[in-house]
C-alpha cells in the first residue's frame, strides 16, 4: 500500500499541493465551463476521455462558484461537482511560457547549434531545426497531442483528440479545460495543447545536433516523423499522463485514477519538465544516429572548429531565457511552484556555468566562451526534471555537479564512446539528463531541502518517510526505460530510412557543404 501511495502522486508541495510534473488531460470531471451555459448536457460533447472516474461526466454547471476545491464538492458519484474555471492569470502565464519555449527553438537552439558548425553547413542546421519545428507542430495537432495526453493504455493514449477534436464546441461556445497539479485549478485545454506542442518540437530539434554536417535533409525529416510517433509520444504518455488530481478523494479513487496514468507515472518517477521525455529521449536518438550515420568526412584529421561562437552564445542565452517558460511553465499555473522552478532554473544554470568554466580553466588552461555556453545548457538540462521538487540549495548542487560531469561528457566520455556526435548532444543532454533525473531522486528528499512526495488524498505531504534509495531506483527505472525505448525505436527508424532514402549525403556534397548542395544557398557572402 505504501508503495502504491508513494508510487503515485508526488509532488511539489505547497499548501494547496501544486504539484508534480506535467500532466493532465481534460477529462469530463472538469469540462468546459462557459459562462451562461446552463448545466445542460452532460459534459461537453465528444469528450471521450470519458470513462474517467466513473464519475459520470460532471455537468457543466456554469454559474457554480469556481473556487470551491473539488475535494469539498459532492461525493464522487454525485453529478453536480462545480466545474473549475480557468484563472486569467494562470492562462496568461501559460501562454507566455509557451512563447518562451518557442523562443528556445526558434531561434535559440538553431543559433546555438548553427554557430558550432562550419560556415558551409550553417543554413542546413538552421533549416533542419526550423523545419522540424514546423512539421512536429502539424503532427502534434493532428494526432500527437491525442496519443500523448488522452487516456488510453499505460504506454500510449487514444485517438480521442485527433485533429484536436472535442476541445472546442462552437455550437455551445464551450471550451474544455486541462487539469493542473492543484485541485480545482484548471487551464484552457488549448493552452495545454500549445504548451506541450513546443516540448515535442524542441525535443525533435535537439536530435539533429548529433549528426549535423552530413545527414540528408529528407532523411532527417523522415526519421523525425517516425521517432516522434513511436518514441516521443509513448514516453511523454508514460511519464506525464495522468487524469489530474481533482477526482482523487480517498485511497480508492487514488488507485482508480492512478491506474489510468502512464506507466512511469504509476511507478512514481519524478520528471517535472522533461529530463527523460525530452533530454534523455532526444540524446539517445542522437547518439544512435551519430553511430549509424557514421563520422563526418575528415573527422579527427581536419579542423572542424565552430564558425561563430558569437551565434552560439546568443543561442545559449536565448535557451536560458526560454527555459524559464519550459521549467516554470511546467507548473501549469502561475503560483508558488512556478516561482520555485524559476529560481531553481536560474540558480542551477548559473552554478553549472561556473563549475564547467572553472573545471575547464583548471584542466585545459583557458576559460572558453564555448565552455560558458555549454555549462549553462548542461545546468538547464540537469535541473529540468528536478526544478519543481528540489529546494534552491539542491538546485545549486545539481548545477555544480552537472557542470563538471558534462565537461567530462564531452571529453573523456566522448573519446570512450568514439562516435562523431557533432555537437555533443549526448555529452550535454544525455549525460546532463541522466544525471538530473537521478539527482532529482536525491535532492527531492525533505531532509535535503526538497519537497518529498505529495499525497493527494490527504492533500499534504505524504506521511511516509522519504527513501532516497527507493526514489533513485525509481528514477533509474524511468531513465532505463527511456534509454531502451528510444534506442530501439531509433535503430529501427534509422534502418528504415536508410533503406528507403539513405541517411547521408554523398561525400562530394559533404565536402562542398550542405548549404549549397542540399538547400541551394549560402549563409554568408563575402
Amino acid at each position: 500500500m505504501k508503495r502504491i501511495l508513494k508510487s503515485v502522486i508526488l509532488a511539489s508541495a505547497l499548501l494547496l499541493g501544486a504539484g508534480s510534473s506535467q500532466l493532465v488531460m481534460a477529462d469530463d470531471v472538469k469540462p468546459a465551463v462557459v459562462a451562461a451555459e446552463p448545466a445542460s448536457a452532460p459534459a461537453a460533447a465528444p469528450d471521450s476521455a470519458a470513462a474517467s472516474s466513473g464519475a459520470a461526466p460532471a455537468a457543466t454547471v456554469a454559474a457554480a462558484p469556481a473556487s470551491a476545491p473539488v475535494a469539498e464538492a459532492a461525493p464522487a458519484s454525485a453529478a453536480a461537482a462545480p466545474a473549475a474555471v480557468p484563472n486569467k492569470g494562470d492562462t496568461a502565464w501559460m501562454l507566455v511560457a509557451t512563447l518562451l519555449v518557442i523562443l528556445m527553438t526558434l531561434p535559440g537552439l538553431a543559433l546555438f547549434y548553427g554557430g558550432l558548425v562550419r560556415t558551409k553547413n550553417m543554413l542546413s542546421v538552421l533549416m533542419q531545426v526550423f523545419m522540424i519545428f514546423a512539421v512536429i507542430i502539424v503532427l502534434w495537432c493532428i494526432y500527437g497531442y491525442s496519443l500523448a495526453f488522452t487516456e488510453g493504455g499505460n504506454f500510449i493514449g487514444s485517438f480521442d483528440r485527433v485533429f484536436l477534436n472535442g476541445i472546442w464546441d462552437p455550437a455551445k461556445a464551450s471550451f474544455t479545460t486541462a487539469a493542473t497539479f492543484s485541485k480545482g485549478v484548471v487551464i484552457p485545454e488549448f493552452v495545454y495543447v500549445a504548451f506541450q506542442a513546443t516540448f515535442a518540437a524542441i525535443t525533435c530539434g535537439l536530435i539533429i545536433g548529433a549528426f549535423a554536417e552530413r545527414a540528408k535533409f529528407s532523411a532527417v525529416l523522415a526519421f523525425v516523423v517516425i521517432w516522434f510517433t513511436f518514441s516521443y509520444l509513448p514516453i511523454a504518455h508514460m511519464v506525464w499522463f495522468w487524469t489530474g488530481p481533482d477526482a482523487i478523494k480517498d485511497a480508492a479513487t487514488l488507485a482508480t485514477e492512478t491506474a489510468k496514468a502512464g506507466y512511469l507515472w504509476q511507478k512514481g518517477a519524478l520528471d517535472f519538465a522533461g529530463g527523460t521525455v525530452v533530454h534523455i529521449n532526444a540524446a539517445i536518438a542522437g547518439l544512435v544516429g551519430a553511430i549509424m550515420i557514421g563520422k563526418r568526412v575528415g573527422y579527427g584529421r581536419e579542423a572542424m572548429a565552430p564558425h561563430s561562437l558569437t551565434m552560439t552564445m546568443i543561442g545559449a542565452s536565448l535557451l536560458w531565457v526560454g527555459w524559464f517558460g519550459f521549467n516554470a511553465g511546467s507548473a501549469l499555473e502561475a503560483g508558488d511552484v512556478a516561482a520555485l522552478a524559476f529560481v531553481n532554473t536560474l540558480l542551477a544554470t548559473a552554478a553549472a556555468t561556473v563549475s564547467w568554466v572553472f573545471g575547464e580553466w583548471m584542466s585545459k588552461g583557458k576559460p572558453s566562451m564555448l565552455g560558458g555556453a555549454s555549462g549553462a545548457v548542461a545546468g538547464l538540462v540537469a535541473i529540468t526534471p528536478a526544478c519543481g521538487y528540489v529546494g534552491p540549495m539542491g538546485a545549486l548542487m545539481i548545477g555544480l555537479i552537472a557542470g563538471v560531469v558534462c565537461l567530462w561528457g564531452v571529453n573523456g566520455l566522448k573519446r570512450l564512446i568514439g562516435a562523431d556526435d557533432s555537437l555533443d548532444v549526448f555529452g550535454v543532454h544525455g549525460v546532463g539528463g541522466i544525471l538530473g533525473a537521478l539527482l532529482t531522486g536525491v535532492f527531492a528528499a525533505p531532509s535535503l531541502g526538497g519537497q518529498g512526495i505529495f499525497d493527494y488524498v490527504t492533500n499534504k505531504m505524504s506521511a511516509d518517510p522519504y527513501s532516497i534509495f527507493a526514489q533513485v531506483t525509481t528514477q533509474a527505472t524511468a531513465v532505463g526505460v527511456t534509454i531502451i525505448w528510444s534506442a530501439v525505436v531509433s535503430v529501427i527508424a534509422y534502418k528504415l530510412v536508410d533503406l528507403v532514402i539513405g541517411l547521408r549525403v554523398p561525400e562530394d556534397e559533404e565536402r562542398e557543404g550542405l548549404d549549397i548542395t542540399s538547400h541551394g544557398e549560402s549563409a554568408y557572402h563575402s
Binding site: 579542423a303 572542424m304 572548429a305 572558453s368 564555448l370 571529453n411 573519446r415
Partner: protein, 112 residues
C-alpha cells in the same frame, strides 16, 4: 623604382600607413593574408576537440616607390610595425620594371 612588399601584424596597419604617408608614399595596396614563420601557429580547443591552427592572420602591404625614397620607406615600415615580439613580419623589396597610370597613360616615376 622598387616594389616594397611587407607582411605585418594586422593591428599595426594604421601606424604603418601613417608613417608611409608622412614620408611621401602616394599609395599602398593592402591584403589580408595568412601564413606562418618562426611564430608558428597556435592551438584552439573546442570542448573536447583540439585544433592546431598553422596559419596566422597577417596583413600584406604593397607599395611602389621611387628609388630615392626606398630606404626611408623601409625604415618607416620597420619602425611603425615593430613590437619586438616574434611575429612582427618581414619586408621584401623587388626591382620594378614599369608602372602605368591607367587614367592618363603616364609611365615610370610620373605614374607613382
Amino acid at each position: 623604382m622598387k616594389l616594397i612588399t611587407a607582411i605585418i601584424k594586422p593591428f599595426k596597419l594604421d601606424e604603418v600607413r601613417e608613417a608611409l604617408s608622412e614620408m611621401g608614399v602616394q599609395g599602398i595596396t593592402v591584403t589580408e593574408v595568412k601564413g606562418f614563420g618562426r611564430q608558428k601557429g597556435h592551438t584552439e580547443l573546442y570542448r573536447g576537440a583540439e585544433y592546431v591552427v598553422d596559419f596566422l592572420p597577417k596583413t600584406k602591404i604593397e607599395a611602389a616607390v621611387d628609388d630615392a625614397i626606398v630606404d626611408r620607406a623601409i625604415e618607416a615600415i620597420e619602425g611603425a610595425a615593430r613590437t619586438g615580439k616574434i611575429g612582427d613580419g618581414k619586408i621584401f623589396v623587388y626591382d620594378l620594371q614599369q608602372v602605368v597610370r591607367i587614367r592618363t597613360g603616364e609611365t615610370g616615376n610620373d605614374a607613382l
